[in-house]
Symmetry: C2
Subunit: 358 residues, 2 copies
Amino acid sequence: MDIKVTPCSDNQRKPIPTDDNALGFGRLFSDHMFLMNYDPDRGWHNARIEPYGPLSLDPASMVLHYGQEVFEGLKAYRGADSSVRLFRPRDNYERLNRSCERLVIPPVDVDLMVEATKQLVMLDKAWIPRSEGCSMYVRPTIIAIDPFVGVAPSQTYLCYIIVGPVGAYYPEGFNPVGIWASADYVRAVRGGMGEAKTGGNYAGSLKAQAAAKAEGYSQVLWLDALERKYVEEVGTMNIFFKINGTVVTSPLTGSILPGITRDSVMRLLTHWDMPVQERMLTIDELFAAGADGSLEEIFGSGTAAIITPVKEIAYKGDKLSVGDGTTGPVAQRLYDSILALQYGTGEDPFGWSERIDG
Amino acid sequence: MDIKVTPCSDNQRKPIPTDDNALGFGRLFSDHMFLMNYDPDRGWHNARIEPYGPLSLDPASMVLHYGQEVFEGLKAYRGADSSVRLFRPRDNYERLNRSCERLVIPPVDVDLMVEATKQLVMLDKAWIPRSEGCSMYVRPTIIAIDPFVGVAPSQTYLCYIIVGPVGAYYPEGFNPVGIWASADYVRAVRGGMGEAKTGGNYAGSLKAQAAAKAEGYSQVLWLDALERKYVEEVGTMNIFFKINGTVVTSPLTGSILPGITRDSVMRLLTHWDMPVQERMLTIDELFAAGADGSLEEIFGSGTAAIITPVKEIAYKGDKLSVGDGTTGPVAQRLYDSILALQYGTGEDPFGWSERIDG
């Protein structure tokens, strides 16, 4: 399928931000967006890049009532040599299709979506920040648009991609965070849709997140919904624990988002011959490891921050401090290595970084 | 707050359907809609009724990514005397506010929402069908509209109400349905958002619903997520079982939608001195009651169909047939009584029916 491009007129263009320190995250979007429609007769069709602008949606659109929606998040990076790179984009679109499968949304063509991402990013490449740690965030989304208030899969869908510049998560170096394990709220349960990247998983998390913030913590550590004791994931990150020299993370039980950065972390650790284990870990075991000194590091992984060191966990009034509260060597090495891969300055044994400028 | 009304021009008006048998459900909407905005400075403001038309939403609007959305469903009825009635509208808006609380959305003023519903329904009263069993469906909705792709409660919201004519669910009398208990998928879990009327609960149900349809069943019977054995609710209905003369339904454990029709059913049964019990009931107990003859009736309750008799349950390859497959006397009496209340032809000991025409 060809992608029809309708560029902005000059007077439609927005000013490109010049201060990379003021970019923040998720509030600025570039001049164009990619769009594509689905109906049962034509399948996915009318792939196009147009000026960024509001969507016109019937108030009965199913996405607004029944949450039939999936999305992805990835980034485009500008290297010191001005090259432009994507990081594992096919993995994002393959995960998007797994989310579609769970939400009964027709799958997209991965090659087409990667091509659309490249064309959109290159058309708006002037928006990719140049500062270390800054990048262009790419948000592919699919929404159900039948104007029908009945509970059934939609017949029509809109797929779109928007992009925008985002700042460095840690412009002044790492800032280890405290996380708060929720005893009352859960994120997802096996048999539910926790492994899909879909709105409802995030909507359900907002109340616990507000509780965490009220206690002074930046994110929620989710425990499993069945026994309320196994650590699963954190807010918008997967989570890793280095205990007695082994890095442990929760297995993909069906209620956990299969993070692409999570996978990158595990494969890098294996590549470095560092022991890494997917296994169930209880919050009690974690606190015990903190007490007996075997807990060496905790860090989260995700697209936005890459690696987030954790300095403290709160649970039912108890607090677990990790080391001396500074960033551990494994977290630092992972961050440096993945960042180097993304900007094209490091060795890329896995072929994860894809240069897309000419 | 005053509601500013901007009526349609004559050429904006759509033709009002004349064949009540062809109305269906959820596909037709009237000429106007109610809208109201929220921001932190002004709170809910700019309450207005305008011509029905598309919403202009930024593609980054939070509802499209993180599913921060809640809704309600109620109906307006036209009596044989041309009177127009709502049924328990305050209960719907009070539940809307409980959904808001779970989804971290600012609550609405219940009195204002009831007033908005009345004004909108009366402005478009020519759209209310006159045939027995037909009505005007009312869909209040609140969506998060910050153009921000970050996981945090939105700062801005749009509340709207759309209305449209809907047909009789059973134009030729009851049609008892078969339901399919899902062994693989679950709808919600305690600590999640199952008791809120929000998109994610419905999005997560679509895949199991497709599986039920593929097996020839119209809806899914959900079992609890923790032990996978207690019957909780059905697709878009709560569910009741008459066993040994007592009508049993699941208690509101936190993972179940607190249906207003569910409440009407329980209060009517109590009013009639019929034993009714909220208690946990396992699927095995249900099949055993079917085998020993103590299972007398099964029926669902919901706004769309009021009462839906169930003739068969399938679970892991086993089938449970209920009685002779016809509608039981309790289901029939409840349906007739609630219908009479809604159309203003029956005794209304609870004051549930509210006449809104002049």
